[in-house]
């Protein structure tokens, strides 16, 4: 999870300081620079993780520490090459990264790429649906709160937003499960699909791992319904947390733009208040909002651990925690590298979206 940044981070690309003001070519170049920045980001993260992980122990101790004596452990460690100097191991790893060989996990003996392909889609799907909830709830309520600022309605929304954010995810998830699964029996307790649907989807020749798509591929409405019903509670749990953040973000920024001269100018031309809010104030406010939302999405991808645990949603975050616990260096490094790519790419995409909203950048 991350801080709720209501303030557009001045260091982020949308802030005027780092954004080229205008001029064709400048923007393309800027994007190129942003794109190239992905690589040092990955490199730094992987390096950081590499050394941090070596400080925390090794997978062999993690797995066998309760069964083997020190001598045997040492022997196994030597066999696995963990007794070599860390720098040697590091350069070896980096060397392999360069040829895009992310290695094989120690604990489950699966290629890291495969791990990413299995769990990435799960996280992606969860984040996707949560964002739908977050957007559907956060933005309209944020607009309403801005419009009714400092009225009781605004206060209600704001307290709600903070509340969503303050309740620990695992606790909120538990309560939702009790209400909607146990008492009302509307939704399943946890998991991504029922056993029957899972087995049916298993038979698909090329599974995507995104259950919604897989369910549609089976063409069985029961499976589709089943998969969707599994999405509801986790999406709401994670979605509301994010919605709280969006709500506050939209509110602050829209109130800001509502007091600008151009909104006053539009008002002086007789434009309706509701239209002022939805069009004249909202659109410009979107630029800083989008930037923070972009960061938020990136953080969601790696930060959904608690939701994933609570709802049996085996995604990257959960898996990463698991690998961490087992000190599976290779897997952790691989997943972190992927997350870094996702974060960097998201930021990159957000820049492009922001540019489309903000003509000052586009032209």
């Amino acid at each position: 999870m991350s801080a709720v940044d209501l303030t557009p981070q001045p260091g982020t690309p949308a802030a005027g300081a780092t954004r080229p003001k205008s001029g064709r070519g400048g923007f393309g170049r800027y994007l190129l620079v942003r794109f190239l920045l992905i690589f040092p980001t990955i490199f730094i993260l992987v390096t950081l993780v590499f050394f941090l992980m070596r400080l925390t122990g090794d997978p062999i101790t993690a797995a066998q520490g309760g069964r083997l004596g020190p001598a045997e452990l040492e022997q196994l460690r030597a066999a696995a090459g963990f007794d070599r100097p860390v720098l040697v191991q590091y350069f070896e790893y980096i060397g392999r990264i360069f040829v895009l060989d992310f290695g094989t996990t120690y604990t489950t003996n699966r290629p890291v790429i495969e791990v990413l392909l299995t769990y990435g889609p799960a996280t992606f799907e969860l984040v996707f649906y949560s964002l739908i909830v977050a957007f559907a709830v956060g933005i309209p309520l944020g607009l309403r709160a801005a419009y009714h600022r400092d009225k009781p309605e605004d206060a209600v929304y704001r307290v709600l937003a903070i509340w969503w954010y303050a309740v620990p995810v695992f606790f909120a998830g538990l309560i939702l499960k009790l209400i909607f699964s146990v008492w009302l029996k509307w939704f399943p307790v946890a998991g991504r699909s029922s056993v029957a649907s899972e087995i049916q989807m298993q038979t698909l020749p090329n599974r995507t791992g995104i259950y919604t798509i897989d369910a549609i591929l089976t063409g069985d409405p029961a499976v589709i319904g089943d998969v969707l019903s599994h999405v509801v509670l986790p999406a709401i749990t994670l979605g509301l947390l994010t919605a709280g953040i969006f709500l506050r973000l939209v509110r602050t920024n829209v109130i800001g733009t509502l007091s600008t001269d151009y909104v006053d100018a539009a008002r002086s031309r007789g434009v309706r208040e509701s239209r002022l809010l939805r069009t004249h104030a909202y659109r410009p406010a979107l630029i800083p909002i989008i930037t923070v939302i972009g960061l938020q999405i990136a953080l969601l991808l790696g930060g959904a651990v608690l939701t994933e645990t609570t709802f049996e949603w085996r995604g990257l975050g959960f898996q990463l925690a698991e690998f961490l616990e087992n000190r599976d260096f290779i897997a952790v490094q691989g997943i972190v590298a992927l997350l870094a790519v996702i974060v960097a790419v998201t930021n990159f995409v957000v820049d492009i979206i922001a540019a489309f909203i903000d003509p000052r950048v586009r032209y």
């Binding site: 999870m1 993260l45 941090l52 009781p152 307290v159 903070i162 954010y165 538990l174 790696g302 997350l339």
Partner: protein, 360 residues
């Protein structure tokens, strides 16, 4: 009124004292609902801090106490006269642990904030002011850390820092330090951005023109002016620290229950209680978390709103004409302009005097 009378020179200083106390000043400024929210938040924080300070007096039992006079409390006892909030699966008194939990939480928040502010601000000042390759490297590194899922970073760090140990200080330091590492980039970003902005301000340039040394410029001119956004971030990060601590507790990296009371730990231990109809072991620590985060966030949000003149609400003037003194005028041309006569008029940037400013 002439400027040379003592009254005239005293007046601004008096206001200054109050102005300088960040929250008090904002409290005085606020009106209506905004004040209501700020006050509510402050009250909640006060309750939290007071509970922490007077935990030994408030809590009927120790946080690791399982029995009194050799008589065990019993586990998972429902709320009763002896145990207002019941007892936990470990046989502790829930009420006492909720109260003692404030101490742990406060400790973590304070340590985390102190560490991240010091380091983050120092780095931000340095990088923002001098720029250059170090700045670029720091920016990229901080962005990279930002991309790392913070909770997992906290886990790794808690392992590295305390060797996975969870006595009180080990646990507190691990949680705090891991939170620190996550927040340093944030403080860094914010301070750096402020510094970059302030560096271009005329008063810094004027100091440069005077030939002041870099360290003098940084400390005398840049530093204090670049900390305006801190109160807001501090509140945000306090909430985050609490939630991170909670999550660490949930994932098993919490603080050992006989070393300190910690809400997240209690809450995670109460998971299976809830599904078994034992609500009291989870609800109270859960509410304590929500209450505290709510309080801190309310204050943070209110400070944010109050700092921005556009977001700040003001008391309505009831009577339109007549009664109001004519303070509206700049006695422009005269050399002996009355004191305070032009407050807040020129340039529209009277926000300079407030604690923080956040431009949406």
């Amino acid at each position: 009124m002439t400027a040379t009378t003592p009254v005239a020179t005293m007046a601004p200083q008096k206001r200054r004292l109050v102005d300088r106390l960040p929250v008090v000043h904002q409290l005085r400024q606020s009106v209506g609902l905004q004040r209501g929210m700020l006050v509510a938040g402050l009250v909640m924080i006060a309750v939290f801090v007071l509970s922490a300070a007077f935990a030994p007096l408030i809590a009927p039992f120790g946080f690791a106490q399982r029995s009194v006079d050799g008589e065990s409390f019993g586990t998972q006892q429902p709320p009763s006269a002896e145990h207002w909030f019941g007892t936990t699966v470990g046989g502790y008194d829930v009420f006492s642990r909720v109260i003692w939990g404030t101490q742990t939480t406060l400790l973590v928040v304070v340590v985390a904030l102190v560490l991240s502010i010091f380091i983050g601000v120092a780095l931000g000042l340095y990088a923002g002011y001098f720029g250059g390759w170090l700045d670029r490297v720091l920016v990229v590194v901080c962005d990279a850390i930002y991309a790392f899922p913070s909770l997992l970073l906290a886990i790794v760090l808690s392992i590295v820092i305390s060797g996975g140990q969870s006595n009180l200080w080990g646990g507190v330091l691990a949680a705090a330090a891991s939170i620190t590492v996550i927040y340093i980039p944030q403080y860094f970003r914010v301070i750096r951005a402020e510094v970059v902005r302030i560096k271009a301000e005329a008063y810094v340039e004027s100091a440069k023109v005077l030939g002041a040394s870099n360290s003098r410029i940084i400390f005398r001119h840049v530093f204090r002016n670049s900390t305006r956004t801190l109160p807001l971030i501090i509140t945000l990060n306090s909430s985050e620290a609490i939630l991170t601590l909670t999550a660490l507790g949930f994932l098993g990296f919490g603080i050992e229950p006989t070393a300190a009371a910690e809400w997240g730990y209690d809450l995670s231990k109460a998971q299976s209680d809830v599904t078994s109809g034992i609500w009291w072991t989870a609800v109270f620590p859960g509410l304590a978390i929500v209450f505290t985060v709510l309080g801190i966030t309310l204050v943070g949000e209110s400070l944010n709103d109050l700092a921005d003149p556009r977001l700040r609400g003001r008391r309505r003037v009831a009577q339109a004409a007549g009664q109001v003194a004519e303070t509206s005028v700049v006695p422009g041309g005269t050399l002996t302009a009355g004191p305070g006569g032009i407050d807040g008029l020129e340039g529209g940037d009277s926000i300079e005097q407030h604690g923080i400013e956040v431009r949406p």
